[in-house]
């Protein structure tokens, strides 16, 4: 058994001796990509089995998911709009993962970001070029502040961030549940906020009309900037290096003079700011007002996005668009084939199970490789 586990390392070493360091990195990168793609393939096969199990044709099912997500410009725009909050929450989860933290508090941070943007949008009245940056900054700040709590508790008291994150999710849920109807009530309904004014919405006229009236909004561009920025921070800065070292080995990092506690809090703050932006992208971008009594599933899906994207910013971008496609195509598929739309979530969950158990796939790849070598 131990022999099998050492196998990937051996291969890395082989690469290293052949053509130096770069080759090693490339082998590892390719391998992760292959594992992710295989996880997707297995997930899609499992999805086909679920569809067969309820007596539906998986080929038509997948055909309608794809055409529902990509058939025309409007649907492509909706796919990208669905993916936008997922890019943010995926980045948030990935950033925390790289520091060895599990940011399950993303839904709460997203709610706080959304609440802050909704509050700003409904109280201030600024020209659009000023209003949107203010709203985005507000959502980032409130997400970051909300995430300081689990970061601080982890650093100072060693309270596990998963449990404190879950407690804070429900706290945020009830705060929104109270504040929206009390201060920002819609005209008729008690369960949602008033409509976001046009000059505070991330949906802008030229973009919507470019995509034939879809939900696509400026959040997408902010998300892409965030991907590039986070990739830069992680790979090219001292801060990123320190954060990653804390993630790899807390004790070694401490020994090397890196302040572990500071980096844990900082990492949670940045992750929280990203989830806060997801809140802005969803509540004042994709949607036109804030509903109460809903824990945003995008927060949890961010973990899935991050895992599938191998915790790298560009991987997150790809994974978020793929999940966005599944989510935006499922409604059309449901309308055309009567397959329940939950098939999309089921496929995503199965993909995550396979990427969580990627050792299984890696062993399979190793076995294949060995057989190939044996044939030579």
């Amino acid at each position: 058994m131990s022999n099998l586990e050492n196998k990937p390392n051996n291969q890395e070493m082989e690469g290293l001796t052949e053509t130096g360091k770069i080759k090693k990195v490339r082998i590892k990168g390719n391998r992760n990509l292959v594992v992710s793609l295989l996880a997707i393939l297995f997930g899609l096969i499992a999805g086909a089995i679920y569809m067969l199990a309820i007596g539906k044709n998986p080929i038509t099912g997948y055909y309608f998911i794809l055409s529902g997500g990509l058939k025309n410009l409007e649907r492509i725009g909706n796919t990208l709009a669905t993916a936008t909050p997922l890019i943010f929450t995926g980045l948030s989860a990935a950033f925390a993962f790289r520091t060895g933290l599990f940011n399950i508090g993303a839904p709460g941070q997203m709610l706080m970001g959304g609440l802050c943007s909704t509050a700003l949008a409904l109280t201030l009245n600024l020209p659009q070029y000023l209003f949107l940056p203010v709203i985005l900054l507000g959502s980032m700040l409130s997400g970051a502040l909300w995430a300081i709590v689990p970061g601080f508790l982890k650093a100072k008291f060693n309270v596990h961030e998963v449990v404190s994150g879950i407690m804070l999710n429900w706290t945020a849920y009830w705060i929104v549940y109270y504040i929206i109807p009390t201060y920002f009530k819609a005209e008729y309904l008690e369960t949602e906020s008033a409509m976001i004014p046009a000059n505070a919405s991330l949906k802008v006229g030229w973009l919507s009309s470019l995509f034939q009236g879809s939900f696509i909004n400026l959040g997408l561009f902010v998300a892409i900037v965030a991907v590039v920025l986070i990739a830069f921070i992680l790979d090219k800065t001292v801060l990123g290096y320190e954060l990653k070292s804390v993630g790899y080995n807390r004790h070694a990092a401490e020994y090397a003079g890196i302040s572990v506690n500071k980096n844990i809090i900082l990492s949670m703050m940045i992750a929280g700011a990203l989830s806060g932006l997801a809140g802005a992208a969803f509540y004042v971008g994709y949607a036109s007002n804030m509903q109460i009594g809903v824990m945003p599933s995008q927060g949890f899906d961010g973990i899935a996005v991050s895992l599938l994207g191998n915790n790298t910013p560009y991987g997150v971008l790809g994974a978020a668009i793929f999940f966005g496609l599944l989510h935006s195509g499922k409604g059309f598929m449901n309308a055309m084939t009567k397959i329940p739309p939950e098939i999309a979530d089921t496929i995503i969950a199965t993909i995550i199970y396979f990427s969580a158990t990627s050792i299984f796939i890696e062993r399979m790849l190793d076995a294949l490789k060995r057989r190939k070598r044996g044939a030579k």
């Binding site: 058994m1 131990s2 586990e5 679920y50 309820i54 599990f102 399950i104 709590v149 508790l153 008291f157 060693n158 309270v159 596990h160 998963v162 449990v163 404190s164 879950i166 407690m167 804070l168 429900w170 706290t171 009830w174 705060i175 549940y177 109270y178 504040i179 824990m295 949890f300 973990i303 899935a304 895992l307 329940p340 939950e342 098939i343 999309a344 979530d345 089921t346 995503i348 969950a349 199965t350 995550i352 199970y353 969580a356 158990t357 990627s358 050792i359 299984f360």
Partner: protein, 312 residues
């Protein structure tokens, strides 16, 4: 005030019981060294299984159907938890990630199946009836609090609680279970099969969580709707709040039960109607956070919980 407490007590206990049994399940898993964040998903699977079985059998069997549903939910919960056991014990996957995947699969797959069966994704059943226990209900104070308007499943869970305490602290299996969670390599060198003990721990947690989910269904909910309102996560917090001890868990889940019920009925209690309900709603979560901070220094967490073990 006393009237208020006795009148909400049956509701608070009904809310406590599924939380208690699920947290006890988490206890078995974590004591064996496997963190089980998938409790929520396992509860959903239990609730779904119970709903399907009871919905199908109730027209002909009435009350027996409920018990068959509960048993089925327990078994299916245990089988479903094998996914988590396999990932975290054999494949040494990150247990938190595997648990998250379990939650996602459960939430999506059960609604997918339910929609296919009933069309709406919801499955309704007739809940258990409450009854007061003769003689005991007449004891002053305690009788009013605990023995009036009870569900049969409550007593089942109290029984499981006592058995769990006995098994964990007084049997050789319990000693082995705890050893695997504290120091699996030492347990291994003493000839204990760590993999087997951990499998049993995880499957017991799946069974208890499945039962917990089904209890929600047959008591206060009466309907499967694709989630258990985050009760599995709350059970996880109760497990930590209760410091990984059976009676500690009883205390923490009772606290959650009463705090949440008070928050839910605060509008009709004159003493509490003044306080904005949001404070009462977030009260249990904030107190848990504070309790976690206070207990962090002297945490009784199983030392090897979350760490994969590989033999030899």
């Amino acid at each position: 005030m006393w009237d208020v407490i006795t009148s909400i007590s049956p509701y608070a206990i009904a809310y406590t019981v599924p939380l208690l049994i699920t947290a006890l399940g988490g206890l078995y898993s974590e004591r064996s060294g496997v963190v089980n964040i998938g409790l929520d998903g396992m509860m959903i699977v239990g609730s779904f299984t119970g709903a399907i079985i009871i919905n199908a059998l109730q027209p002909t069997m009435h009350d027996t159907a409920i018990w068959i549903g509960l048993i089925a939910a327990t078994i299916v919960g245990a089988i479903f938890s094998l996914l988590h056991a396999f990932a975290s014990i054999n494949l040494k996957a990150n247990q938190v990630i595997s648990g998250t995947a379990i939650n996602m699969i459960a939430g999506a797959l059960t609604v997918f199946l339910a929609r296919n069966i009933t069309g709406s994704g919801n499955i309704r059943i007739n809940a258990q009836s409450r009854y007061s226990i003769p003689i005991l209900k007449d004891i002053p104070i305690i009788g009013d609090l605990f023995f009036k308007q009870t569900y049969a499943t409550t007593w089942l869970v109290v029984f499981v609680l006592i058995i769990s305490w006995f098994v964990i602290y007084k049997t050789s299996f319990g000693l082995r279970l705890r050893a695997c969670g504290e120091h699996p390599h030492a347990a291994d060198s003493a000839g204990i099969n760590v993999y087997r003990i951990r499998y049993i721990g995880v499957m017991l947690s799946g069974a208890c969580a499945g039962l917990g989910g089904a209890i929600i269904l047959v008591t206060y909910s009466g309907e499967f709707n694709g989630n258990v309102a985050g009760m599995g996560f709350l059970a996880l917090a109760a497990l930590i709040f209760g410091q990984w001890k059976p009676f500690g868990i009883l205390a923490s889940t009772l606290f959650f039960g009463f705090a949440s019920t008070i928050a839910n009925v605060s509008r009709v209690i004159p003493e509490l109607a003044e306080i904005p309900s949001v404070y009462l709603k977030i009260f249990p979560y904030i107190v848990t956070l504070i309790a976690l901070i206070l207990s962090a220094k002297s945490s009784q967490a199983p030392r090897a919980a979350g760490e994969p073990f590989s033999h030899g």
